[in-house]
């Protein structure tokens, strides 16, 4: 096996495994460099000492978290077409499963989203209620202050207290609670589409 044969098999196997083009180029330039550094006249020797390029490719794929299906163990240049059709078939199957399981995942997703959305609304309403009550008490306390001074002072104090609560809670609500609930909905969507998108990435 010469340099070109070695690199071609390596490239084909990595591409079939769905490795990203950046990672494929990294591996190819590494092995190309090895051949050149070992000497142009020693190509056959170098290839022999490196080992089977298909096995090397499988090792690289495994390091990237891609497992090679057992029926594809003997990668050669001739079975390119067959292997590609099986992998696109697998994606088709995944899409079909995704659609068929719609009655299962959709209600779960809808429920989780609805609960999180309800919590968001509740948080916003709570903030609004505090704001309304606080401001109303403050305004109402001014005329009361003249009519029944002790009651007016009490109302003014309560108004300040509730407005303070509102400010503290609003900050927490908009900084922490709303974003985290939003993330929850996004995470639920991601969880459901995960198997589907993984298949997509493997073929891209």
């Amino acid at each position: 096996m010469n340099r070109l044969e070695f690199l071609t098999t390596l490239k084909n196997t990595l591409e079939k495994g769905g490795l990203s083009s950046g990672d494929i180029n990294d591996a190819l330039s590494y092995y190309e460099e090895v051949f050149l550094d070992a000497g142009v006249s020693k190509e056959e020797e170098t290839a022999a000492s490196l080992g089977d390029p298909a096995e090397i490719a499988k090792g690289i794929l495994a390091d990237s978290g891609i497992s090679v299906a057992p029926e594809n163990t003997s990668y050669t240049n001739t079975n390119t077409v067959r292997s590609e059709s099986t992998s696109s078939g697998a994606t088709g199957l995944k899409i079909a499963i995704f659609i068929l399981l719609f009655p299962v995942w959709f209600p779960i997703f809808a429920t989780v989203s609805a609960i999180l959305f309800a919590l968001m609304v509740a948080a916003v309403s709570l903030v609004a209620a505090f704001a309304g009550a606080g401001v109303a008490l403050l305004f109402e306390s001014i005329p009361t202050l003249f009519r029944v001074p002790p009651a007016g002072v009490f109302m003014f104090g309560s108004g300040l207290f509730i407005t303070g609560l509102f400010l503290g809670f609003a900050k927490m609500c908009f900084k922490n609670i709303l974003p985290s609930l939003g993330r929850g909905i996004k995470a639920a969507a991601r969880f459901i589409t995960r198997p589907f998108r993984k298949g997509d990435a493997n073929n891209g």
Binding site: Y30, E33, G59, I60
Partner: protein, 110 residues
């Protein structure tokens, strides 16, 4: 040589080679071959792992009309290497205490 080299030891040796001089894949393998039977194929995942862990970084340098990828140790890599060396010393002592019948009195010498 009949003893197998594990991944940690290989990482440590590669870090040590690169720390001495910035160097490239083929040369690293040649150095390693002084101690262990290893091919460039075994080295590749090691280099990738060290790069991903930010223990090594790379840069390309022109050599005879082509690019050669050089590896350079990072500060994090140098720290890791120090740790590996300490681990190795204590590991070696423990092995020697059994294999070479070296008692506790020999510990002071090293």
């Amino acid at each position: 040589m009949g003893f197998s080299i594990n991944a940690g030891l290989l990482d440590a040796m590669v870090l040590s080679i690169v720390q001495k001089n910035d160097t490239y894949g083929y040369e690293i393998t040649q150095y390693l071959r002084k101690a262990v039977e290893i091919s460039e194929s075994t080295l590749y995942p090691v280099l990738r792992r060290l790069q991903k862990g930010e223990l090594l970084e790379t840069y390309d340098k022109e050599y005879m009309g082509r690019n050669r990828r050089y590896y350079r140790i990072t500060a994090k890599g140098a720290d890791a290497l120090e740790e590996y060396r300490e681990d190795w010393l204590s590991h070696k002592k423990k092995i020697d205490s059994i294999l070479m019948n070296e008692g506790a009195e020999c510990y002071e010498q090293t």
